[in-house]
Amino acid sequence: MHTPQQDSSAPLSKQSMGAAAVEAGRREPALEAINIVKNFGSLQVLRDVSMTLYRGDITAVVGDNGAGKSTFMKVLSGEHIPDGGQLCVNNREVQLRSTQDAQSYGIETVYQDLALAPDLSVAENVFLGREIKAPGWRGQIGMLDRQLMLEESTRILTELGAKLKSYRATTQSLSGGQRQGVAIARAIKWAQHAILMDEPTAALGTRQRDMVYAAIRAAAGRNLAVLLISHDLPQVLELADRIIVMRQGTAVANLNPAEVTVRDVVDVMLGAKGA
């Protein structure tokens, strides 16, 4: 039986992450977080969390409820401003003060609650905030190119394997899996470096789950760095290239899915001794 590489007392150091990268060779970091600290009032939710997301890799973040996974992801997506630590995109230090900042650095997020506007159409949601203007004088008077946006949305979603009856339908008329598909399609459309996903399959049935997992693989296949928060450990073991375990606001282990079992991961998550 393999013993997972773990250290339940000290936070994962940047050096050990670097070593993992060297081991794998040729991997390019897209997004790097170094010693991130986040407090909510007197409550320290993140303590020196470091993590590197590599292009084309799916990095899973697992941990018990309240471990700080969503909070960490929101630091990467610009929603929370960290109280300490550094962020680097493509090896250059950046400040993310808003979700717009993160988007401008090519980082897209699929939120746990999806963040779709339920009354807007699929195409309007995919292009929300980044609408395309019509060519010529029609664009000059502010008119949108609805046809182009519709065709483009249809193309991406078809590529992801989402079968929608209508791309003009409002997103609230879609099933949970289809909605998830729209949110992921939007992220894939705009991400240049990284996609962050918070429990994208939590509310889905098996078939729809598979569709979303296929979409996640597609994102990694496009050479994007993917961060996936999930409680579905068997799936994570199958899907992820690496598993980061968080416990009480720290990243306590960096596991190779090929070398561990679900049981091993759970032990690390809960901090059981001598797994």
Binding site: E79, T99, Q100, Q103, T109, Y111, D113, A115, L116, A117, P118, D119, L120, E124, N125, L128, G129, R130, E131, K133, R138, G142, M143, L144, R146, Q147, L150, E151, T154, K165, S166, Y167, R168, A169, Q172, S173
Partner: protein, 354 residues
């Protein structure tokens, strides 16, 4: 995929869609369409039962349009705000205050008090120009103040605009001691409010129509419109999509105020006096028009053509009742009842779709 060169005019005029629906099946889903049928039904009904079919005349039609020309501006502004899940109760107070400021500007610049009281206006041109500017600026400022209070202090627009209603009306009363501003030059009436283009279309109707078409285009076809509905549909979604909700809302309140300023101008030019007591139910009527036309009180769904129809239904009802010899005040009762029905339907639709 269908390409249509006339796509810009309507979103419902390509023959079939990717889900196989036709333009007609899509039309049937629009509240505005059904309300338009009801409006036609009312017109036919009143035409049949009015003495000598007096209801059905071009002249009566444009009288109705003239009576609706002010309200439709407020209602379209309200349509944008409701679409963004916000609200403005202070539109009537804004119209009153802006009309008083404009009227005062005109009467005090047009000549000496004695001249003005005699109906002499030596400086008519500059006075009217200044009055128009004052109405538009004060209306817009009123709206922007509402918007700033809502966005900066993060207060609900319901409470803010309830408070600014009191402040606006109070200011108007302090300025005038409750007496309307008299002696507004009649040329505003003869050359503008009652002037008929081609001897037919009243100029205020034309002005309102142009503004309504412009705003229809804005809501249905531009980024500004999409962001308005996105905000009303899900403020979180629009914020995360990089839309600055606060700034957008400020623009919407500013637009509402601007439209109140225009409505104030229509008011003083039509009646050659201010109408301090006459705008208490403007807010209700504007919301009613929007809601009747299919705009949702819960945000995210709004229709300018729907609002146009929704404005006309109560006005047609009111005119019809008068022609039938009934008191026009019944109109208000009917509007109240229609609003309750429309809001009930809106709410039920929302619950069904969750």
């Amino acid at each position: 995929m269908n390409h249509s060169s006339s796509q810009e005019a309507l979103s419902v005029n390509t023959p079939t869609y990717d889900d196989g629906s036709t333009w007609f099946s899509r039309l049937r889903e629009a509240t505005a369409f059904w309300m338009f049928l009801i409006l036609l039904g009312l017109v036919v009904l009143f035409s049949l039962i009015s003495p000598n079919h007096a209801f059905l005349s071009v002249n009566n039609f444009f009288t109705i349009a003239l009576n609706a020309s002010q309200l439709v501006l407020l209602a379209v502004g309200m349509t944008f705000l409701l679409g963004a899940r916000e609200f403005d109760l202070s539109v009537g107070a804004n119209v009153v205050l802006s009309s008083i400021l404009a009227a005062r500007t005109i009467t005090s610049l047009a000549g000496t008090p004695d001249e003005v009281a005699m109906g002499n206006y030596p400086h008519l041109g500059p006075a009217i120009t200044a009055g128009v500017l004052v109405a538009i600026i004060s209306g817009t400022l009123f709206g922007l103040i509402n918007g700033l209070l809502v966005t900066k202090l993060r207060l609900s627009s319901f409470l803010v605009t309830l408070a600014t209603t009191a402040i606006g009306l109070g200011t108007a009363l302090v300025m005038t001691h409750g007496a309307n501003v008299p002696d507004i030059p009649r040329v505003l009436q003869t050359e503008f409010a009652t002037y008929r283009v081609f001897d037919m279309i009243p100029l205020p109707v034309l002005l309102s129509l142009v503004l309504v078409l412009l705003l229809w285009f804005t809501l249905a076809q531009t980024r500004f419109g999409v962001h308005t509905l996105a905000m009303g549909s899900s403020p979180d979604a629009s914020r995360r999509a990089g839309i600055n909700n606060a700034r957008h809302l400020l623009k919407l309140f500013g637009l509402m105020g601007f439209l109140c300023g225009i409505a104030a101008l229509l008011d003083i030019s039509r009646f050659a006096t201010t109408n301090i007591g006459g705008h208490q139910t403007d807010n209700l009527q504007a919301v009613a028009a929007a809601v009747i036309g299919g705009t949702s009180l819960f945000g995210g769904i709004a229709s300018v053509p729907g609002t146009l129809v929704g404005t006309l239904i109560p006005v047609v009802l009111g005119t019809g009742l008068v022609i039938m010899g009934l008191d026009s005040f019944y109109q208000l009762i009917l509007v109240g009842l229609i609003v309750i029905a429309a809001v009930y339907i809106d709410q039920r639709n929302r619950q069904l779709s969750i």
